[in-house]
Symmetry: C2
Subunit: 341 residues, 2 copies
DNA sequence: CTGTTAGCGCGTTCAC
DNA sequence: GTGAACGCGCTAACAG
């Protein structure tokens, strides 16, 4: 099958290429009549404009990139859903890149995007990211970028988050309210602000409740699940076992489950557990897991919306949105009413 | 910052554009020396070739599309992981499109891909897809396409699946082995072969065990979760309640959980439940859910591998791969050993 | 209102 | 071994 392009159409209609082009782009310079004709033939021959020629000429790719630490994770999967919804609305395409929580991959991926392949970037940082030089390069290229959830420290940049300090505070307070006095915190791996903020919320709640802050109760986790599991095991085996655990991410909550099972400890009878989680089903399957659920779909949507705002009107300052997390308590029925959360 | 392109490099080196181009493409016509120089300057100026110009010229996009029914679903998320791994290996980019189980969206998306934006397509069909005309158009354009999991009926097409008949059979047999005599099947929505095959496996297992086939025990589900939930509720409320349920997808298993909770029925004491599921955590959180776990990561990887095979050597016949599902039984420790499954 | 011309940046002839 | 010239398909500027 021969490619059908503007030239084909122009020849068949005895028009010039540019007239056809304008007609298809609904230019005001073209008669309604000619437009009709052109459109009809285009339809008939199933003409599809070549996106690369168009991009080359217009310096626009109609494509955005989404850079994620991982995808087998309900939070990010839902965020993509929200992003995709907005992208479709704007007629944009979505490229996915996974860092697998690896700083080096993150750098490599940002390098890939320096060539104009995409018009904008949505990004959630890898937990191993310390240094932000690679992000500066993107900004130098005037590539609009919006961070979500795991955001850059840079103030001059757009971001969408939930209030991690508040969430950490509320999670801890919830455990206190349940009668916990010795509360451990499984801290977010790496050096991102999100980890510090959640911990700071935890510390503040301890303070406000006149509970001692025992450094041994803060576990600095990493990306090695086995190591984390063992550390939690040790924590639970100590003769001064915590009566409550606040996990900063879902995976650590699952490790805690496994460790408790190993030690024949009951959740929540022996240890109460609260965790960030967007696993819709977690509550359904095991109501003892109180969750702090982030509005992942809305975060994705908001981040994408901010990005497209920047894409439309060029000079737009950094904007920030902070959405609300929801604490879903034991036996709450809230989980059933959530749609795309 | 000015764009740095071949022209820039050529001028700075007193070479012609074409020489620089050849040098960067490591052509045999160019001296090792000049290559060095060119590469050095390219590095220094951080030259990034314009992908659109390149694609326009080469008729290659270095991009594949992945079309999925949904993404907030562990199976598909893991499949993307596998796909991405292979794509990165080949230096390819991955576009994501979601049908949201909607046939019309699926058609619209396939139309989008008719213009050469991607070199190949990986696809899992929407459950509402009946008609495959839109897929024919893709094939007419010689766009390589590989289906996975929810595959086209067409024999002339590449696909990667697990053996759905066998899985359905094994699931049912497992319930029989647990002592179930009245086994219900929550059938996969829509008209795809995957639903029929799982049901046929179920029916064959009943037959082989001399169990009656009661049509009322087969629930034809759809994409409306509330309706499914109510149907399951009715099923469980009947005076002739099933003692085992085989759910064809995870969501239906979750609906079953909710329905049982509503009726104060215990799983597995009152009703045994088995379901397809790639929710790694399901077993951990609730061991009573016996799962049939598909090797999602490997399915994605295999599908992508097949696709790239087709991309390399043009004329390649349809290939088919059938991977093994794993039955993860109650209290099995298998779940902990799985990596990217 | 329509057509002509001139690139977008790159890769591939074909001369030299 | 290197360079000049052309074209991939489309759009923008300018004529008419």
């Amino acid at each position: 099958m021969e490619p059908v392009n503007l030239k084909t159409l122009a020849e068949r209609l005895n028009l010039s290429i540019s007239t056809v082009s304008k007609a298809l782009n609904d230019s005001y310079e073209i008669t309604a009549e000619t437009k009709k004709k052109v459109l009809a033939l285009a339809q008939e021959l199933n003409y599809q404009p070549n996106p690369f020629a168009s991009s080359l000429r217009r310096h626009k790719s109609k494509t955005i990139a989404v850079i994620l630490p991982e995808i087998a994770n309900n939070f990010f999967a839902l965020a993509i859903n929200g992003i995709e919804a907005v992208a479709v609305e704007h007629g944009y395409h979505v490229l996915i890149y996974l860092t697998h929580e690896d700083y080096n991959r993150e750098v490599a991926i940002t390098q890939l995007l320096l060539n104009g392949r995409v018009d904008g970037v949505l990004m959630s940082l890898a937990s191993t990211t310390e240094n932000q030089n690679h992000l500066l390069e993107l900004r130098k290229k005037d590539l609009p970028i919006v961070f979500f959830d795991r955001v850059s420290e840079d103030d001059a940049v757009s971001k969408v988050t939930t209030d991690d300090f508040e969430s950490g505070y509320n999670a801890t307070q919830h455990l206190v309210d349940q009668g916990c006095r010795r509360i451990a915190h499984l801290m977010f791996p790496g050096h991102l602000s999100i980890g510090r903020k959640r911990r700071d919320g935890y510390l503040q709640a301890l303070l406000d409740n006149n509970l001692p802050n025992d450094p041994e109760l803060i576990l600095s986790c990493n990306n090695n699940s086995t190591q984390n599991y063992n550390a939690i095991l040790d924590l639970l085996k100590s003769n001064n076992r915590p009566d409550g655990i606040f996990a900063s991410i879902e995976k650590l909550a699952l490790n805690t489950y496994a460790a408790c099972a190993e030690l024949n400890l009951s959740i929540p009878d022996d240890v109460k557990l609260i965790s960030f989680s967007n696993l819709e089903t977690a509550q359904l399957l095991h109501p003892s897991l109180t969750t702090i659920t982030q509005p992942a779909y809305d975060i994705g949507k908001e981040a994408a919306t901010l990005l497209f705002k920047a894409l439309k009107r060029k000079p737009v300052g950094p904007e920030t949105a902070v959405l609300k997390s929801v604490l879903i308590k034991r036996n709450s029925t809230a989980i059933r009413s959530t749609g795309n959360v």
